[in-house]
Subunit: 334 residues, 2 copies
């Protein structure tokens, strides 16, 4: 292939909030696929809170991005050259490789999207990693039962919005926590939650108690900090806590202390962490289950779409500061 490809590579590790200064946008000759490889043109790039962890040298569940390496991120792309019999030019694929206009992948790392497709950006959000995260956490850890109360932080976000709608389908009272009246209105009116608490409330304990008169049986944790403390105070006996993320502290140099865990004994609470990548089979399972709901309009989702790969760092800053509304996606081409 001729032309150049553009890539955001890591320039230096951020101490606090990352922004464009921490990356370099480089251009280089277009690569050519070797046998078993596929070259795609990126259509959409997903921007997610977990990316903050990849910028840190701190040991975590996935390797850090190294200085000079392209930043990682899920993408939807179109195959423009293939040296693998499993993929043809024009195929639409999802893949795990990063902030680049064109991506050279091993064929085994790509999944071709087939059948009647939902809007392509949704394969990064409601039908993609955040949606599968919500589905896996609710199914495997939350196990909501009809009549129970389910509380969800970052309720308007890509994960929370799916988690809450699943809990509604399970027959639960579903209460969100979100930042500000616009997001709270969206959570109640568009996502169909029964109530939503603004996390700016002075007395968060009282606000949650008001919204959850029967206490909380399942808490889906995306936030941490004072939201977590207040949510934990509302937990019922035998409550389940899905530990999905704690975005409130992703930029912190040191983590603050957490809750005294004595209550887990007295209330027999289960607190369990999860990562979507542990159960890769859930991706196809979720797409098959939920794509019809997207196509028939029975499942709500919201995206913030930013145009142009050059704006990816700014999009990440927004996600980490709560400046987005719904799933953050960068439209790279298409």
């Amino acid at each position: 292939m001729s032309g150049l490809r553009q890539s955001w590579v890591l320039r230096e590790r951020p101490d606090g909030m990352p922004d464009a200064r921490h990356f370099n946008l480089i251009s280089e000759p277009m690569p050519t696929p070797a046998p078993g490889e596929v070259l795609t043109r990126t259509l959409y790039l997903s921007i997610d809170p977990y990316m903050r962890g990849r910028l840190s040298a701190r040991k975590s569940y996935a390797p850090s991005v190294q200085i000079g390496e392209p930043m990682t991120g899920e993408t939807v792309g179109e195959v423009i050259a293939s040296a693998d019999p499993g993929f043809a030019v024009g195929d639409i694929v999802v893949g795990p490789r990063g902030w680049q206009s064109h991506i050279l992948s091993k064929a085994a790392a790509l999944t071709r999207l087939e059948g009647e497709l939902a809007p392509l950006s949704t394969y990064l959000g409601v039908l993609g990693m955040p949606g599968v995260t919500a589905y896996t956490g609710m199914t495997d850890i939350g196990e909501p039962k009809a009549g129970e109360t389910v509380l969800i932080s970052a309720a308007s976000g890509a994960v929370g919005s799916v988690a809450g709608q699943l809990a509604k389908r399970a027959g639960c009272r579903v209460v969100g926590i979100a930042g500000g009246p616009d997001k709270c209105l969206y959570v109640q009116e568009q996502l169909g939650f029964d109530a939503c608490v603004d996390h700016h409330a002075d007395d968060l304990d009282a606000a949650i108690a008001d919204a959850c008169p029967n206490g909380v049986d399942v808490y889906f944790e995306n936030v941490g900090g004072r939201v977590q403390a207040a949510a934990f105070n509302a937990l019922n006996m035998f409550a389940r806590v899905i530990m999905c993320g704690m975005v409130a502290q992703y930029n912190a140099a040191e983590f603050p202390p957490g809750p005294n865990l004595g209550f887990t004994v007295a209330k027999r609470v289960k607190i369990q962490g999860m990562l979507v990548f542990d159960k890769p089979q859930r991706f196809a399972e979720w797409r098959a289950l939920a794509a019809p709901w997207i196509l028939d309009g029975s499942f709500a989702y919201r995206e913030t779409v930013i145009d142009g790969l050059e704006n990816a760092p700014e999009a990440l800053t927004m996600v980490l500061s709560g400046g987005n509304f719904g799933k953050m996606v960068v439209k790279v081409a298409g």
Copy 2:
């Protein structure tokens, strides 16, 4: 029946460590069973850390003992009068009712011990509530697999000693944490643990890392505080934490903060609280499984037996300050 019965009743709620000043030993006429009731002579009384919670007005999983009421506690007793067709004079029973020389119980609250009996005190320890606690926690939450490393706090105690021996039977490397060289020696030599860490170690993190070169897959928590913090630092990916108790803070007026829970996401850790009373069917199951191990000598246990009901408060102080060695039992009669 003629004669008097003695009962320890709660005089005032302790602020910190309870002792004899917080109880009154009263004498009263011997009660007579009404239809459906059974009168027993107490042979052994169990003294356990959970009893501290019953002395507090703080809301917990079980009702507090009220001022003037007899203190609660498991007992082994002999039936001396029965107004229920299910029990006869001479039957040996276990029951949940308290610090009394003679106990009037509803028949439904008692379990008759049958078949070839192990030493009667063991039905309060290794074969009783602490043993069932260890068995239930390990089975339902810990799920130890051969080759994994299992770490157990209060390892020489009534619960920890059973939990560790069960993990050994499951083919695990088992490491205890105990207070002082005598207990550590006992944990290794008598209970057969692979290693034991003295919780007085200056650098508990380093001591645990030394004893657990492959990290910790299952942590059985009985203690809390700095032991908990160090144990959590050693947890592996997909580790399970059985939250059984946090005796280090049972006398605290306010609970200190706990761990930042970010690690539960990155490591997909499960932290789950349990109480033995949630699964009453486990008691008979455990007695049937483990009584043969006690009778054939293949399962180790240790008891501190104190003579005389009058010493029950002192026995409780010992349990809450780590002054006992193995299961604490008061021999009341027999």
